[in-house]
Structure formats: C-alpha cells, structure tokens
C-alpha cells in the first residue's frame, strides 16, 4: 500500500506534464464525456470521474483509478471533442498512463504484458504491425475469411504493386539508417528506460536487437567510406 507522500508524488508527476494545464480547465460534472464514451459502455470507467478526481486533487482516488480504470480508455478522444470546457479526459488518461509506467505500477505491467509483441515490433522496427502478425492462428475470432486468396504470404505480399509494401515482417520496408535514428530518439527521450521498468526481459531482447542493428549500420558506413 502506497503512503500518502508516494501518492502525492504520483499526482505531482501528472501535474508536471506540460499538457496538463491545457487538458484540464474546469468541470461542472455535466457528464457529456461519459455519455459519449465507448469504454463507459463496457467498463467501470467514466471520463467525468477521472476529470473530477484530478480537478479536486483527490490524490488517493487518483492513485486508485490509475491501477485499473485508466486502462479502459479507448483513446478515441470523443470526450475531448465534446467537453464544453475543452478538457481532454483522454489526454489526461494518457498522461496518467505514462506516470503509472514511470512509477512501475504492477497493474500497468499486468495490463501491458499481452501487448509486448506489439511493443517489440514498434521499438525495433518503427512499424507497429506487420503482415506476419496478422495470421489466422493469432486471430481465430476474425473468422475463416481473413485472407480470401490462399497462398504463401511472401508471394501475396510480392503481388502488391508497390515496392515498399512487399515485406512480411514489417508493414513497409524501413531503411536501416531510419531505424538507427529512431533508436537514438528512444534513448534520448527515456522510452527505453520506461520499457525496462515495465518488462526487463523484453528490454533485454530489444537492446540486443538495437546493438546488432547499430553494428550493421556502422559496418555499412565503413564500407561506404572505404569505397569513396
């Protein structure tokens, strides 16, 4: 159980985000946000409640909502479009999620575990989704018509009349230089650090991948300068 001081620290981190003041301007409990929220149909989740907790600076309840409720939000931002105060409950939830990760909440680890495959793909390739991830075995609930022409995935992708899309393990062909630049962004913005907090094993796998790609790029550069 967190102490009040710890919960206060979590709240102060939320408030310190530069988006906070833009996304929280007031609240009269009108509930338009909740009325229009897709997640409120299915979860014990209300964007109005999130806004009220932040507006009233109720640090204990904020901490509590960060354990589960914030992960229900679908991030569609319908709430933000409708709020008469120009609040963005969805935007506030995004900040709260970042802070939950920064503080290594176990609940965040639990929620994100099944999402690991996607994070691995994104951090290493810059693409979120690849054709080889969307196979019938992975999505039995998508039914038998997931691919209406049977055949080898590589051939089917080669039949797309655009060079950049003829890939199977990334959504499009990303140049090595691009990926290496992206790794620098991840490092300099603390994204890899967040990942390490969430899942050390996944972090190790990703770090090895990044090291390998960087070596590959350096070799390419050396070869290129040798040719010059």
């Amino acid at each position: 159980m967190a102490t009040y001081a710890e919960m206060r620290e979590v709240f102060e981190d939320i408030k310190a985000d530069i988006r906070y003041d833009h996304e929280l301007n007031g609240c009269l409990n009108c509930g338009i946000c909740t009325a229009t929220c897709p997640s409120a149909h299915f979860y014990d989740y209300s964007p109005r409640e999130i806004v009220q907790l932040l507006w009233t600076e109720n640090v204990e309840q904020i901490y509590d909502a960060m354990q589960e409720k914030i992960w229900a939000c679908a991030q569609c931002m319908t709430c933000a479009a409708r709020c008469p105060f120009k609040n963005s409950p969805g935007g506030l939830v995004a900040i709260m999620r970042e802070v939950a990760i920064k503080h290594g909440f176990q609940s965040a680890k639990d929620v994100l575990r099944p999402f690991g495959r996607v994070m691995l793909k994104l951090i290493t390739t810059g693409n979120q989704l690849s054709p080889d991830m969307i196979q019938p075995d992975h999505f039995p609930d998508w039914g038998p018509n997931i691919q209406k022409v049977k055949g080898n995935l590589k051939t089917l992708r080669k039949a797309i009349p655009v060079r950049t899309l003829q890939t199977t393990d990334t959504a499009w062909e990303v140049s090595l230089k691009t990926s290496v630049e992206m790794y620098t962004i991840w490092e300099m913005t603390g994204v890899l650090e967040s990942l390490e907090t969430m899942d050390e094993n996944l972090f190790d796998v990703i770090q090895d991948f990044i090291d390998e790609k960087r070596e590959e790029y350096e070799e390419l550069m050396e070869d290129a300068s040798a040719q010059d």
């Binding site: 008469p84 989704l129 609930d141 998508w142 992708r157 950049t164 990334t170 140049s175 300099m188």
Partner: protein, 446 residues
C-alpha cells in the same frame, strides 16, 4: 443542505461518489473558492472559435523570430483552399506529395495505399516528381503510445520532426529543391497526433529546446532550426479536394444504386477538431466532409445513421489484447446499425484502425446470434473500384474479411473472374514478373 446530501456512512454527496465530501468552508473562503472556479468556468464558451487561438498564427511568429523554419505549401504544390470547423482556411496541396505511410494500412489493408497511388497515376501524376513513396520513414509511433503509454510527448515530437524533416529534404535525392515534396499523412491517428504535437511544439519553448538536441544529434535541423509544416494534411483531404476530378475524369462505373454509410475516424476530427474540413455542401456542414464528399461526388447514395459519431471500438490496445470490448462495441454500435438502420451495401472509412476493427470483427458476432455483416473499405478503395481498378491487383480486397465481394458484384464487377485472373497473376509474381505502380528504385532513400 439536507441530511441526505451528506450521508453519515461516508459515501459522499449523493450521486457523486465517496470522494465528494462537504468542504465546511467559511463563507469568506467559499466566496474565494467560487471566484476561483468562476475564473476557470469563464474559459468556456459556446462559440469557441472567437476565443480559440489559431496555432498557425503563432507558428508564423516563431518563424519571424528565427526560431523555426516553416515547410511551406507553395504554388508548385497546386494547393486547394478548404474551410475547417470554424470557417478557417486550410491549404491542401495536390501535387509534389511525400507519402507518409500508415503501419496498419501497409501491414493489414495494403489496398488502401495502392488504391491511392493508382488514382494519382490515373490523374497523370508522375512518380518521383508529383509524389514520392520512400523507405526513409518510421510510423508516427502513436498507435503504441495510445495503447500502452510507453512513449511521451518528447518522443512523439522527435519522431514527428524527424519524419517531416525527411519529407522536407527528400526532393534533393531526386533532382528537386528542398521543400519540393510535401508530406501527405495516410493514417488518421498519425494525423491527429502530429497536429497535437505541432501545437505543443509551437506553444512550448521547453519542448522545442528538448527536441532540438535530439534533432541536432540526428543531423535533422536546417540552419540550426526545427522544420515545422505549414499544414498537417490527411490523404482523405486530398481525396476530398480531388473528388470532382476523380468522378469526372476517371469514373467508369455507375454507383448510384450503392447505399453507402461513412465512418469518419475519431482522430481525424475529434483531435485538434478546429482543423478538420467542414463543407456546407456536404451533409449541411453538420459532419466533417471527408469520406462522405467523395462518395457523393461519385453519385452513391450516402445514408446517414444514428451512431455516426461513435468511435469504432479500436482502442489501440483493446484490438490486440482486450478484443471482447472491440468486437462488442463495433458490432453493437456500428455494424448492426449500418445493417439494420441504413441497410448499407458498404461502410466507408478513412483510417486504418477503424477499417481493421469493423472489417475483422463481424464473423465473431455469430457466437451471440448477432449475425450482421457489411463490406468495409476505405473511401479511396471504393473510388478506385468506381474508376475501374482491379479489385485484387490494385484494391487488394483479398485481405478484407468482410463480404466485399457483395458490393463489388453490385457495382457490376465479377468477383470470381477477377479472383481467377489474380490467381493466374500470382504465378507471374512467383516467376518474378511483377507489375509496379512506380519504378521501385524511387523508393530507396539514399
């Protein structure tokens, strides 16, 4: 105050949850608190446009002060003016476009970008001059951010600036000037995310300072400055301004009997909503115009439906790891309504996640006797079909799970024959005889 409003069991003020407690403030303190609330309440207005800043004004000011370089939409980009929510002007470039791809489209709905490139070719646009599709780009990374919370404003801003800097300089490799190609964003979430990030970059010197270090390290500053685009432009906005040319110059198939419903992506018009296109001639300006306008221009019957404003249920993380939410919402609030209320022949989307969600989550409805189905595709796929594009080779409908064959047949195109032709073409592909929409060498970034 009545006793009911302050229950003794600590459950808070009735109807507002346990965290609501009486303040017990003195009248003076209560007045102070009320004044403070009123000050904030005053920021609310029904006519937001009068009080809302146009972030582009600040952007021009920053450029004047030497802080940033604005990637301009010049006459060479052949811009068309449109109006956004509050009647503000927005320039949509129609030529010299840098295709900023969508990971969900390219990975899952490849007919989306191919239909777009095919349409551009048909309109006489020359690859390498009028558009460029290259390998030097990452996704916006916002799908992951909205799904997992891994990432932050700084990383999103750095990715935005890196990709848009590449767009700015990409012309040089092809014998053009800097700024020749202007970014055309394919994904709705990228579009919404980039607009939001651009706003914060313009408003926050601290954020600019932080990302400048990163962009400097990557060698992606111009004269030591960040490059920020004049407008963030979504592909559906290009389709919107080109719709009359598409219909008058390219259309070969009558779609007047096709009943169309439109689902516009939340991140297109609910994020930085003041920048979405509204046109009085499209549904009276009561809906954002994109998607609907091209269907109307092609002569299809656009059918309105009660849940048009609802999200599709994608949820970013939900579609991967809380799928029961995604499929329930999309069946109940989208597919069922489009089928029962609008009797739609097709639902058109303008974004990656929505099309994936609505397309893939129909079959599972059978488990609960919710046996509804509607073909799902993008506006540009529908337009390409109406203009005679091959349903398999170009529109790539073989990747769609929803019954697209039904609407293809209704348009008078033989699904079976097209499929047989495509299966024969696969043999050619295996033998290395591949047809391309542009010279593949153009894709390689040097």
């Amino acid at each position: 105050m009545s006793a009911e409003q302050f229950p003794s069991d600590g459950s808070g003020i009735a109807g507002h949850g346990a965290f609501f407690q009486p303040t017990n403030l003195s009248p003076e303190d209560a007045a102070k608190a009320t004044a403070w609330v009123e000050k904030h309440v005053d920021r609310r207005t029904l006519d937001l446009s009068e009080r809302m800043d146009d972030v582009r004004d600040h952007m021009w000011q920053l450029e004047k002060e030497g802080e940033i370089i604005v990637h301009r939409i010049s006459d060479a980009h052949r811009p068309v003016d449109v109006q956004t929510l509050f009647g503000w002007n927005k320039k949509i470039p129609t030529a010299q476009l840098w295709h900023h791809k969508s990971c969900g489209q390219c990975g899952n709905i490849p007919g989306y970008p191919t239909a777009l490139l095919w349409t551009m070719n048909k309109l006489g646009m020359v690859p390498g001059r009028d558009y460029l599709d290259e390998t030097d780009q990452t996704s916006c990374t916002a799908w992951n951010y909205h799904g997992s919370g891994i990432g932050n404003l700084e990383s999103l801003a750095a990715v935005f600036l890196r990709n848009f800097h590449q767009a700015y300089v990409s012309g040089k490799n092809h014998g053009h000037d800097t700024g020749h190609f202007y970014p055309l964003v394919h994904c709705g979430t990228s579009y919404g995310n980039y607009k939001e990030v651009r706003k914060y970059l313009i408003e926050s010197p601290q954020l600019r300072e932080k990302v400048k270090k990163i962009l400097g390290k990557l060698g992606r500053l111009v004269d030591g400055k960040l490059v920020i685009p004049e407008e963030i432009v979504h592909y559906s906005e290009w389709v919107h301004v080109m719709r009359k040319r598409i219909a008058s110059e390219l259309q070969t198939i009558d779609v007047s009997k096709v009943r169309v419903t439109v689902h516009t992506a939340c991140h297109y018009y609910k994020m930085v909503h003041e920048d979405a296109i509204y046109d009085p001639s499209v549904l009276g300006g009561n809906r954002t115009a994109v998607g609907t306008s091209v269907a109307e221009a092609l002569g299809a019957q656009v059918i309105d439906y009660s849940t048009w404003y609802d999200c599709c249920g994608f949820g970013f993380r939900h579609i991967i790891s809380e799928r029961e939410f995604t499929r329930s919402f999309t069946i109940d609030r989208k597919i069922k309504i489009a089928r029962e209320e609008a009797n739609a022949d097709v639902m058109l989307g303008i974004d990656t996640g929505c099309i994936t969600t609505m397309d893939k989550n129909q079959w599972i409805g059978k488990a609960h006797d919710k046996n509804y189905s509607v073909p799902i595709m993008a506006d540009i796929q529908f337009a390409a079909l109406a203009c005679g594009a091959d349903p398999f080779k170009i529109v790539q409908l073989q990747w769609h799970a929803s019954p697209c064959e039904e609407v293809v047949e209704k348009m008078g195109i033989s699904w079976d024959e097209s499929k047989r032709n495509f299966e024969a073409y696969l043999k050619e592909v295996e033998a290395g005889r591949i047809e391309y929409l542009y010279n593949p060498e153009l894709a390689i970034s040097r």
